[in-house]
């Protein structure tokens, strides 16, 4: 697996920030590698998850936040379940994604666009409207929709609604998003 060799200015606050936002104590990580051994996406990661934890301890902010791995993590909770030191590794992966967004370091832009398209749909309708979400995703990324072969199947099975299921009080959900943005 290729490892990043770009030197990183050690950012002493970084570890602190991550620990605070995730409510985890990363100093307890002794690099046993359990998280990586169980991670189903290890084969696709540029940096294995245990190495990310080590780099966090060392304050390698830029390298960690610009890794592809944090965007390919499927939030499967295996690492959290198996860490002998009760570190909620999956929650740390979440927090790293939050920080990477804020720092503009998103290495796997399509994943981010997909999630943004999903949330836009929820904000608009109160529930996710799959067809609208995919259209929005294609618009954001300019990518060909690679699942076009599934559309006729899903339509035929009545699993792809062509109209959104709007909730009655969409405005309440819209206000949640608005107030969240004010606070952020």
């Amino acid at each position: 697996m290729p490892t990043k060799t770009v030197p990183d200015r050690n950012d002493g606050n970084f570890l602190q920030e991550v620990q605070q936002a995730s409510e985890q104590n990363l100093t307890r990580c002794y690099q046993c590698g359990n998280c990586t051994a169980g991670c189903p996406l290890s084969f696709a990661y540029d940096i294995p998850v245990n190495k990310l934890m080590r780099m966090l301890q060392a304050g390698e902010k830029h390298a960690v936040l610009s890794s592809r791995a944090i965007w390919l993590c499927a939030s499967c909770e295996t690492c959290t379940t198996r860490c002998p030191n009760e570190i909620d590794v999956a929650r740390i992966m979440d927090v790293l994604r939050h920080m990477a967004r804020r720092e503009g370091l998103v290495a796997e832009a399509p994943v981010r666009h997909l999630w943004d398209a999903f949330l836009t749909s929820v904000e608009k309708h109160g529930r996710v409207f799959e067809v609208g979400m995919m259209a929005n995703f294609v618009k954001r990324t300019g990518r060909f929709w690679t699942d076009a072969d599934l559309a006729p199947v899903a339509l035929g099975k009545g699993k792809l609604g062509l109209r959104p299921h709007c909730i009655e009080h969409q405005d309440e959900v819209q206000r949640i998003f608005a107030r969240f943005r004010e606070q952020a």
Binding site: S75, D88, R97, H98, V111, L119, L160, E172
Partner: protein, 299 residues
């Protein structure tokens, strides 16, 4: 049987891609005396996109649903979807902290107690009715059907949040399927990840991960996979043709929701259980249930 009322959170997929899970869940609950009251005007919990973007946003989207459910006269909130379940339970747990609780309330602009028990439908059904008791209601035993139980990665994990069954080797589905008369094969991928929503951006990851699950199920001689998660079911069923193309395999492995097979055993009709919504046609597999000897003939 006694009747207990729960606030029901169907989740967005239950309105579309997993409509057969929603319909068969309602049918199973009805037949076992678990009464479901839909949370009125529920909204999306935000799923992974919300918690991967911000924990406060994720909790606030969940909390509106908690608040509405708290105004109902119910024993708790239940949902069939593990992803919704994890979000609901995580939020409720994090809201035990006053500072976070206050922040969420200020965004939702409603009082939220976050004190209702939250459970999966699977847990609720099994607590309400022991598998042995369910067995006594079986009118069409799943005899002759060999299945592998696939729980998905988050139905039981992380254990501190989900507090149900074993996080590495859960057995609730095994016990239920056995009670219904099916033969449950030991399955090493019970809680392994299917690739989740990565299929939309990196299909190769899903064809690898879900492909492995199909390969093992087939190698074990299973007639079907029994699933409990809409995302897993969709990856294994709707994407099975993509997986076959990518991996040069020829799987024809039906992937049922456990609620569909339970309904079948309890005498509900195939049309009521929306068997026709499955992408991999289960007709041949369902014939085994009626006539186990059919398997020998087709070999």
């Amino acid at each position: 049987m006694s009747v207990t009322q729960y606030a029901y959170y169907p989740g967005c997929s239950g309105m579309g891609s997993s409509i057969e899970y929603d319909i068969s869940t309602r049918a199973l609950c009805k037949s076992l005396g678990v009464e479901l009251l839909d949370i009125p005007d529920w909204n999306c919990c935000g799923s992974t996109p919300a918690h991967a973007s911000d924990h406060l946003l994720s909790a606030s989207l969940v909390a509106r649903n908690l608040a509405i459910a708290e105004s109902m006269d119910v024993a708790g909130i239940i949902t069939p979807c593990p992803s919704c379940l994890k979000n609901l339970k995580t939020t409720s747990l994090r809201m035990q902290r006053k500072a976070f609780h206050d922040k969420v309330e200020s965004i939702v602009e409603r009082p939220v107690r976050a004190d209702l028990p939250i459970k999966s439908v699977l847990q609720t059904v099994l607590e309400h009715c022991e598998p042995e008791a369910i067995a006594s209601h079986v009118s069409r035993p799943l005899k002759g059907l060999k299945v592998v139980p696939y729980y998905g990665c988050i139905m039981n994990r992380p254990p501190d949040v989900m507090t149900f069954d074993d996080p590495e080797n859960p057995t609730s589905l095994d016990r239920l399927m056995t009670a219904l008369g099916a033969e449950v094969l030991p399955f090493p991928h019970k809680v392994d990840c299917c690739g989740a929503s990565l299929g939309l951006v990196r299909r190769d990851l899903v064809t690898t991960l879900s492909g492995r699950i199909l390969d093992t199920a087939a190698a074990l001689g299973a007639h079907a996979i029994v699933a409990a998660c809409p995302m897993c079911q969709m990856n294994l069923d709707m994407r099975q043709s993509q997986i076959n193309r990518a991996n040069h395999t020829r799987h024809h492995m039906p992937v049922f929701y456990y609620t569909q097979l339970a309904g079948l055993a309890l005498g509900q009709s195939e049309s009521c259980l929306c068997m026709d919504k499955l992408c991999v046609n289960p007709a041949d597999t369902l014939r085994l249930v009626d006539c186990p000897a059919a398997e020998e003939r087709t070999r």
